[in-house]
Assembly symmetry: C3
Amino acid sequence: MYYTLAEIAERFGGRVLGDAQVRIGQIATLELAQPAQISFLTNSKYRAELTRTRAGAVIVAEADAQATDLPRIVTQNPYAYFARVSAMLNPAPEIKPGVHPTAVVGEGALIDPTASVLATAVVGSGAVIGAHSVIGEGCFIGDNVMIGRHVRLYPRVVIYHDCMIGDHLIAHSGAVIGADGFGFAMDEGRWIKIPQIGRVVIGNDVEIGANTTIDRGALDDTVIEDGVKLDNQIQIAHNVRIGAHTVIAGCVGIAGSTTIGKYCQIGGSAGILGHLKIADGVVIASFTLIGKSIREAGSYAAIFPFGKTEEWRKNAVHLRHLDEMAKRIKTLEQALLKTVER
Amino acid sequence: MYYTLAEIAERFGGRVLGDAQVRIGQIATLELAQPAQISFLTNSKYRAELTRTRAGAVIVAEADAQATDLPRIVTQNPYAYFARVSAMLNPAPEIKPGVHPTAVVGEGALIDPTASVLATAVVGSGAVIGAHSVIGEGCFIGDNVMIGRHVRLYPRVVIYHDCMIGDHLIAHSGAVIGADGFGFAMDEGRWIKIPQIGRVVIGNDVEIGANTTIDRGALDDTVIEDGVKLDNQIQIAHNVRIGAHTVIAGCVGIAGSTTIGKYCQIGGSAGILGHLKIADGVVIASFTLIGKSIREAGSYAAIFPFGKTEEWRKNAVHLRHLDEMAKRIKTLEQALLKTVER
Amino acid sequence: MYYTLAEIAERFGGRVLGDAQVRIGQIATLELAQPAQISFLTNSKYRAELTRTRAGAVIVAEADAQATDLPRIVTQNPYAYFARVSAMLNPAPEIKPGVHPTAVVGEGALIDPTASVLATAVVGSGAVIGAHSVIGEGCFIGDNVMIGRHVRLYPRVVIYHDCMIGDHLIAHSGAVIGADGFGFAMDEGRWIKIPQIGRVVIGNDVEIGANTTIDRGALDDTVIEDGVKLDNQIQIAHNVRIGAHTVIAGCVGIAGSTTIGKYCQIGGSAGILGHLKIADGVVIASFTLIGKSIREAGSYAAIFPFGKTEEWRKNAVHLRHLDEMAKRIKTLEQALLKTVER
């Protein structure tokens, strides 16, 4: 499908400058865009690329409105505008409603007639699949799981029994929702399993990345609030609560019973210990372990700076003697004071 | 099912104080328990919650026996007692024995008549599935795999050919047991694959979390001993041996040929380099890399403490100059000594 | 199958010393080898093991040619030689070509008659599977995916639509190739999804470990060049490019749009931030976060050295005061200078 700049602006707003009849069929980076494609500039410092691009049109901010002669749409938030245009130009492929003959559906499952259960998927007894939702190939939906509307599960997602999923969830392949939390009691030299009888409850508009795992609660539920976005290979332990619109990058681990606020941003491979509370609006750097609750919004980090291995080694050896170093400094200060006083 | 306190104590021991005829149908936290539910106190410092709970009964330690008037069971280890009561109140759902018509079973596989092979599972030639074991939906069991009794594989577990699994294993969705270890030889600018011909051998009473991976040995086997508990997204490389009753939290990586002792506890996202030996009873903190063998039991850590990003940055910059800092302190000490000696 | 040393040397080169008619059926470590097995010595410091081994023959380097009387093959690169001999002694099991009756193949998919699509696998419309490739049990191949020749996908690998895979790929169970990259634009308090319309393009001779994830590009492609070897549970974000023959150990995370050179080696659980460039031949230690581009080959590290927890704590507390410590040293130096000048 092709759209003119005028049609795009009519749909998403913004001000057209230059030829509004340019026809656009795809979106692309400034570097690789072709004449039938639209590109975008989100940061004025890359303005120079505007002069080199072969794009047929661009999306720019007010501040960059005059930085090019190309046909352009001027808008407050070019990045969000780009996201919307791209979604229009790249609609999800249509999937036929209905249950594929190789799918297996348990007794009493309620599958909306507009929903799709694709090849080799398994849906448990008493599960409910809402309107326009798509259960991908080879997915497993446990007994009594409730899935809302417009949910898209990519192939081989697993949702254990009794979990509740809101509307518009996107979950990528290999995600596992509702496996047992990690709970054992030591008794006479053996670990006894603690049954995990809580659920996972997921709000609306959540996205879950490939191979991410979210454990069910031990007694109460694990909760993912509306608008949370989780990247790949994240581990969320039992009874964690993640506040609305928080985004978490890949490979993060969050230990049990921790509560994370709304609009937080957690960098890749970070970790948060258990039973903590993280305030709204907290930004955590990649590779940072959070070992105490954070009570105020702001940016937090704990990264060991890298260097050439031989230099790292020369410096790192002193970390085992920092306390001694601090004492020697103190001793020096006192000695010097005495010297001066003499 | 409901049980009186008297019936529970008859089954699991402990001393009942107060009304032994209170009927209990579920277990819950002190905060959320209802009158037909039993709760538990594992730490005296939360005694105050006993006064607020609506639970019908509680499980407490000897030291807290008089801290409440609620009907109660007094026991030495309330946490283990809670685990046992919860298991009684929440039995695993019964699963019909037999092979689902959509499952695929290879030639010569031996499936005990009390075992279940659920929908879309695939069992290879010559595999053996023991009594009362359940092979979940979409699982893959390779050729000649031996699986013991009372094993529960949740949906989409993969076990590669020739691996040996003991009794009472619980493995969660997405776990991959027996994939090739990571072994290559460099030859004239190309990596040549080293065939991984060992197996994974797993003892009894092991639990393996969702999306955890345990690689098969290169030549000899990778071994997980009895009672080991592995959380989600753990990576265990080829030829690792994990000692009995060791517990490992989520996202830990253990490199090849490392041997870990019995009754160790390894925190989330920790790592252990290859070819090391870790003694029995070692506790490793979250986010800690172990780069040398540990010969004695005890607690080990290496965590960079987090702070506000600007403070972290101000301090971290000096890590690249610690060696210089140490030298300057030494110079100061010598200079001061001379000054004093003058 | 058994082979004499003479037959092995005829096939792979090298010089036979001792009885060339010894028959070999398997390969094993020096410690566990039996008389019908061949072993190998890759490091002269383990020479003592040669005297204890029960192996029928060994593969040694020129420098160790006289370190044993055992029948032996002398070669420049014993480790690569071992890999070749092992591959000969342990050929992959033969898999019958054709599409299993429980597999589901979409319209217009082209499956080479020598290829295999195993039980419960799903192949999308327009996909192409090359000669001698094996699509394992329960794999999902999206629409229009192109897969080359001699590819081996183990059970439950997922490849999303439109991705391109070269020849001789080995991908282990749970690997997910082509899931959406993690891209959102914030707009009035909500995250809007940015459609991920690039692909994953994988060269020849690549290996991908269990549960590793490689995201599709946002606009352009994510690219894995020839000969790259990826261990388990690696996360590769959208638009990353990994140079030929680079090897990456388990649990590594690489953020979006980073380019890694050829012949790099990245240690386990390391991380690389987004939009960086890593030169050819860079070696990164385990557990190291790379936060800036690296322009020259060499070895880089950033590991916090571990210790007993109480010692770690005593030292780590000073990390929050390093800047102050540095200032106190400076003050001392100036004060001492004045003292001396007096």
